[in-house]
């Protein structure tokens, strides 16, 4: 198992350098003067010369790449033109929003998707099955931004005044605020990586409220999360439901399922213990593949629901031609995606003894 993890880590290293190289190359490909591209059009010649020299832009390309990797290794992603702040700071502040949104959407898609898939498979060709599979076909075909806008309109406008109305933007209602867990737990004096982690978590409204027991804000944060999570999670939900269904149907025809039945297990246990565990192996792979889509969709969802995560920051940076931010965020998202895929691989191996023990 350990060897498997190590091998996966080793394999990820060249990909990591590939990612960095692609982002680096894209930045160098931006037409025009790199100095003015990064510092803005009004930068003077003197400032530019200084800039070019300082960042080694007059050096040969391989050297420049080395400098860039060095900066990254120190956690330096450059300084945003628009915000005038280090990109790293922006990320610590905004990445938690994206992580939280993606996690909630993934949770929604996985739990409901597996549930619907299991029900569909065990009642094959029933009304539930037909409706679910029809819905799944529609679900994968609606663009995230369309679904997001329609949900926002329906729950905020059409259902306004009913108990089912939901807020269409932001993370907390005005007038409601949360005390960050760093304050609640008296960590304000703390420094170092743990403090960064604490800050990171306290920027996630739901987890912050959950960890510190602020139940009022928690309910409000959850209500704000429903629409974005549903908008973002619908495509993966549909794909996971379809995959679970077909995978479970395949597995239920296998010999060991007959053995489980011959043992005298209830059909429920046969499906849930012997069928589902095996059927979930390909589903785990599919979930891993959905993460790229989730991160892509997060860009759109955050824009629609006014959530200031990295996705929305990217779109803001596009309008402000803030290339440093785009570069930095692209790297962070891609590296995060790489890490998640590693975790998916490892959990796949954990679930399948044939891989774990080989």
């Amino acid at each position: 198992m350990l060897r498997f993890v190590l091998r996966r880590l080793l394999l990820a290293i060249p990909v990591l350098f590939g990612i960095i190289f692609v982002v680096f190359a894209l930045a160098r490909l931006i037409p025009g003067d790199p100095c003015r591209a990064q510092l803005g059009e009004r930068a003077t010649a003197a400032v530019c010369n200084d800039f070019i020299h300082r960042f080694g832009l007059d050096q040969p390309i391989p050297v420049q790449f080395g400098i860039y990797v060095g900066q990254l290794a120190h956690g330096d992603l450059g300084t945003s033109l628009k915000f005038g702040r280090p990109v790293t700071d922006l990320i610590i502040e905004r990445l938690p929003v994206t992580v939280e949104l993606t996690l909630v959407a993934l949770l929604f898609a996985t739990v409901l998707g597996i549930l619907l898939g299991v029900v569909s498979a065990s009642r094959r060709n029933s009304a539930v099955d037909v409706v679910t599979m029809f819905g799944a076909n529609i679900g994968v075909s609606i663009p995230v931004f369309v679904l997001g806008l329609v949900l926002a309109w329906f729950f905020a406008v059409v259902l306004r005044g009913t108990p089912f109305a939901l807020p269409p933007s932001g993370r907390l209602s005005s007038g409601i605020s949360e005390i960050p867990l760093t304050e609640v737990w008296g960590l304000t004096g703390m420094q170092g990586p743990l403090r960064v982690l604490a800050d990171f978590v306290s920027h996630m409204t739901i987890f912050n409220a959950l960890l510190t027991g602020q139940w009022g804000p928690l309910g409000d944060a959850l209500r704000h999360m429903i629409l974005p999570a549903v908008a973002l999670g619908t495509i993966p939900l549909a794909i996971i439901a379809r995959m679970t269904r077909s995978s479970l149907l395949d597995v239920m025809g296998l010999d060991y399922i007959r053995t489980a039945r011959a043992k005298g297990l209830t059909e429920r246990l046969v499906v849930l213990r012997h069928g589902l565990r095996n059927a979930l192996l390909p589903v785990v792979t599919i979930i891993g593949l959905q993460l790229g889509g989730l991160l892509s969709g997060a860009v759109l969802t955050e824009t629609i629901f006014n959530l200031s995560g990295v996705g929305r920051t990217v779109t803001e940076a596009i309008t402000g031609r803030d290339y440093v931010v785009i570069q930095g965020l692209t790297i962070v998202i891609a590296v995060g995606y790489l890490l998640i895929n590693l975790i998916v691989d490892v959990s796949y191996a954990y679930l399948d003894p044939r891989i774990r023990l080989s």
Binding site: L254, D255, Y256, R258, A262, G264, L265, T266, R277, R354
Partner: protein
Amino acid sequence: MSISELREPRRRVGTTGERLLDVRGLRTSFTTRDGVVRAVDGIDFHVNRGEILGLVGESGCGKSVTSLSILRLIAPPGRIEAGELIFDGRDLLKLDSRQMRELRGNRISMIFQQPTSSLNPVFSVGRQLEEVLELHRNMKRRAARDRAAELMRMVGIPDPVRRLDAFPHALSGGMAQRVMIAMALACEPELLIADEPTTALDVTTQEQIIDLLQEMQAEFNLSIILITHDLGVVARVANSILVMYAGRPAEFGEADDIFYRCSHPYTRGLLDSVDYGAYRPGEHLHPIAGVPPRLDQLPPGCAFHPRCLYAEPICRDSVPEFGRVPSGHTVAACHPALAGRLNLHRAGAHASGAREL
């Protein structure tokens, strides 16, 4: 530790020879796109306590469907249409699903043709053994694990405690079948259905598994339905034999009656296609000329008549009744009068060493 020491006291002490399972008029059908196919069409036989019934026939003749029907494991689109399955005085077809589940793996167990794929790949073999003990014996995890190790030792698996944590993919076919047998015997069943338990194994392992089954049968006073197309094995171990053809019974009786006084041309053909008298491992059946018919395209009358050397016009018109013949066993009575000729012929064939049928 000997096997008898491992055994707990039996719940029910059966008398050897007492009738354990009586199958009457079993009919199982499958609904397909082209209509209803009767995979098993009116089978009668019985199994006595402590005896081995050999169930023989070519592939696709309904042997496996018969065995799955006994456990009521026929899944849609299949369905048991008619019949009685009297097990220890109760009709299995009249039990509710909970009562039926209590029997499965407990009083009636089953092992299969493909041992490796019959074990769940994501659970250790120990876990799969414990599961059945926890289910039917209400054992706690710890006790179930100890018992699982005992069972593994009993079926001849070396180093059983360590093997408990092994996963099925790490076992050879023979080892996997031993695990399956341990699992099937875990609750000391009265009836074990072995559906071609050796077909997927190599020849030496085949012998070992058959020996193991015989040993277990003697120790546990177990009844076994041994499904096979290997007449050699049947000749060696079976007390009684049911011959099936195209979903119907051809002949049923004591092993000796079948081997020396058979009354059905199909049985005759099977017997002549293997030199059972001097069984050699690995020798395959050389079936009668032609192939078995598809179950959805059965010929009219006796399904065997197109391949039968003794076919007469009447064979095309009427389905033979299953009834007793003078020697005391039951047979599809197409040619009861032939019996003498069939066995004479056999003797002649033997003498000349020819395989004319």
